[in-house]
């Protein structure tokens, strides 16, 4: 059994170059919202890349365009201008159905309010993400159970969201985002609705997931407690990326983290 620390690791900034593969590339993304006199330019030419094996944080003040950018990266909104490529596939000119197909194959979402289906059990909520992909049968159940086991909720398979704590619900949401083995996981304020302990547990989990060399994780957040878990931090202001910070291993591994904590405590 593995232990995940619920307290934040120390920051150890250093200049690091990405080692993973490029899975998402956004170039000169512009997004205009509203019409006529009420038209607002929410994004003013954002370019970024996401690589596998990295947890990237997108930080910025309210109204800076974080969620709009996340929506575009997740193919939920289409950019007014600019180009987006996910897993080598350009989204230009794709119909809403084709975008949905791209989403279910390559993108996993984690939402601030979990967005679980209240009438489905934890296992069913996770299985739903497979069902929309056409993955049914006993394999789907096994996948869902493994995903929940991965987030430490093996014992809550049959629990409904109403009977789960906020942290547990968010972990179900993490399992749901994970179960389809997407190339990119996009998390919108994943800790905002959680207390400190649960928030850090979820960040530790995301950090752990990001270590899988087959996917990238991008989390929109304004929670400074999440910084130590990041491999990279993008800062967005007024619809533009204004800064990028690459960090050394945010959390070495959850094993090492727990070991270090124990060592310090003993000392």
């Amino acid at each position: 059994m593995t232990a995940v620390a619920t307290t934040a690791p120390e920051t150890t900034s250093a200049v690091v170059t990405p080692t993973g593969n490029l899975v998402l590339e956004a170039r000169d993304i512009v997004k205009e919202l509203g019409r006529g006199a009420g038209k607002v330019r929410a994004l003013k030419g954002v370019s970024l890349t996401l690589n596998t094996g990295e947890l990237t944080l997108l930080m910025g003040p309210s109204g800076s365009g974080k969620t709009t950018l996340l929506s575009i990266l997740g193919c939920i909104l289409t950019p007014t201008q600019g180009a987006l490529t996910i897993a080598g596939k350009s989204t230009a000119g794709l119909t809403p159905e084709a975008l949905a197909r791209l989403r279910r194959r390559h993108v996993g979402f984690i939402f601030q309010s979990y967005n679980l289906f209240p009438t489905l059990t934890a296992e069913e909520n996770v299985r739903l993400a497979l069902d929309v992909r056409g993955d049914r049968g006993s394999d789907a159940i096994v996948h869902a159970q493994r995903a929940l086991q991965h987030v430490g909720l093996r014992h809550k398979l049959k629990s409904y969201p109403a009977h789960l704590s906020g942290g547990e619900q968010q972990r179900v949401a993490v399992a749901r985002s994970l179960v389809g083995a997407p190339s990119v996981i996009l998390a919108d304020e994943p800790t905002a609705a959680l207390d400190s302990e649960n928030g850090l547990a979820v960040m530790a989990l995301l950090s752990q997931i990001a270590k899988d060399k087959s996917r990238a994780v991008l989390a929109v957040t304004h929670d400074p407690r999440t910084v130590p878990y990041a491999n990279r931090i993008l800062r967005i202001e007024d619809g533009l990326i204004v800064g990028e910070e690459r960090r050394a291993e945010g959390v070495e591994t959850v094993h090492e983290l727990a070991r270090n904590r124990k060592r310090k405590a003993n000392a």
């Binding site: 593995t2 232990a3 995940v4 620390a5 619920t6 307290t7 929506s71 939920i76 809403p96 159905e97 949905a100 197909r101 791209l102 989403r103 279910r104 194959r105 979402f109 939402f111 601030q112 309010s113 967005n115 289906f117 009438t119 489905l120 069913e124 299985r127 739903l128 069902d131 929309v132 049914r136 049968g137 006993s138 394999d139 789907a140 159940i141 096994v142 996948h143 493994r146 995903a147 086991q149 991965h150 987030v151 430490g152 749901r176 994970l178 179960v179 083995a181 919108d188 989990l205 752990q208 997931i209 270590k211 899988d212 060399k213 996917r215 591994t253 959850v254 727990a258 124990k262 405590a265």
Partner: protein, 408 residues
């Protein structure tokens, strides 16, 4: 103090989750799509709304079942005599609109028919409205049907008391049990007066009812003539039976040319003419079908309203489904499954009530009929009604902004 949470899988296992069982996991079995599970749970999540939906469907089903059941029952009664009569062609007075209301024709028409090639028998039949005077006082209108049972043209069926040969006895008539009270008699052996003659109940049938609610009185040809005061050289119909394999329409045309003062109809033509008269010329059928259509409209509106409101309540979930990458078709299936489940539950309950009403009406003057065909039609109508109701909900879902998933 350090706090830890347990995790069963080490880092890096996530990517293997989806592929692990492909390497020989448990045997792949077919399972019902989650669309059905989701639809079922959404439906039963709000019991009050479900109850409203079911009441709507139930109301609609029962109303349509009763209206169409009455229509079918009436139709059966209208064509019962025509279907039971042993004749391929009906010769009657020109302009006859239905079985009960026919003017007399000359009895010699029968011989013209008999002289026509392919006609193997021509049986005379007499029918007319007349008064039945009850032994207890008062009178009621009846339809006298006169035919000699030896000829086999049109004899009473479903005889539950007595025998058709009893008609050979003096003054004998056979009536239906349903009308005993209306005719003021208690059963076999009782007497009454028709026209100027005395009649005696010699037998009872069950289920021979008239659309006009006018009791049928079966008797012999000559006794019928006497009861309705018809000359002996007159009859109402000639039932022509043709040789097996004969061309019915060809013989009909030949008879028409030979009998310019009468009308010659095939069984199907006479049946249709009677239905058209009673059901459509009188407006009775239009009223029944109109009632059924109204039931469908009301049911559709109620189901559409509740389904729309349920969908509206679950919009955020549908937006989440969209964010998870579900196709439009997947979401349509959830809504349609919800409508389909409502339809099946509503249909089952509605049919239970409708069948109870059918059972209770069995021995009344206007029995409601529920045939397998009508039951299947009702199921199809219910499913169609719910599918149409689902359209507004689907329209609503298709207009949602998937980005709302970030604003919950």
């Amino acid at each position: 103090m350090r706090k830890t949470r347990s995790l069963d899988c080490p880092a890096g296992s996530a990517g293997r989750i989806a592929s692990a069982s492909n390497r020989g996991g448990p045997q792949q079995v077919f399972r019902v799509s989650m669309t059905l599970t989701l639809a079922f749970r959404n439906l039963f999540h709000d019991r009050v709304r479900l109850a409203v939906t079911l009441v709507g469907i139930l109301f609609s089903i029962v109303l349509v079942a009763v209206q169409l059941g009455v229509y079918l029952g009436a139709r059966n009664m209208i064509i019962a005599m025509i279907d039971r009569a042993d004749g391929d062609l009906w010769i009657m007075a020109y302009g006859t609109k239905n079985f009960e209301e026919a003017q007399p024709i000359r009895a010699r028409e029968r011989y013209v028919a008999l002289a026509t090639p392919d006609v193997v028998s021509a049986v005379p039949l007499v029918t007319a409205f007349t008064d039945w005077r009850k032994p207890t006082g008062g009178s009621t209108l009846v339809v006298v049907i006169g035919a000699d049972y030896e000829d086999g043209g049109l004899t009473p069926w479903n005889i539950v008391e007595g025998d058709v040969t009893a008609l050979g006895a003096r003054d004998a008539v056979i009536i239906d049990k349903t009308y005993l009270e209306e005719l003021g008699v208690k059963g076999v052996g009782d007497t009454a007066q028709v026209g100027a003659s005395r009649v005696r109940v010699a037998g009872l049938t069950e289920g021979i009812r008239s659309f006009t609610v006018t009791p049928f009185v079966f008797t012999t040809l000559n006794r019928a003539r006497s009861l309705i005061d018809m000359p002996t050289d007159s009859i109402t119909y000639v039932l022509a039976k043709l040789r097996a394999g004969a061309d019915v329409e060809k013989v009909r045309d030949e008879l028409r040319s030979k009998l310019p003062d009468s009308e010659v109809l095939t069984r199907a033509e006479f049946r249709q003419r009677s239905i058209n008269h009673w059901m459509f010329s009188t407006g009775a059928g239009v009223a029944l079908i109109g009632g059924a259509v109204l039931g469908l409209i009301v049911g559709t509106v109620i189901v559409a309203q509740t389904l729309y409101s349920s969908t509206k309540d679950h919009l955020a979930e549908f937006a989440t489904l969209r964010a998870l990458g579900s196709s439009s078709g997947y979401i349509h299936r959830v809504i349609l499954a919800q409508a389909g489940l409502s339809a099946i539950i509503g249909y089952t309950l509605g049919m239970a009530i409708a069948l109870t009403i059918v059972y209770l009406s069995e021995h009344t003057a206007l029995p409601i009929v529920m045939s397998p065909g009508l039951a299947a039609l009702l199921l199809a109508l219910t499913l169609a009604m719910c599918a149409i109701s689902a359209l507004s909900a689907i329209g609503k879902v298709m207009r949602i902004d998937p980005a709302m998933v970030f604003n919950r």
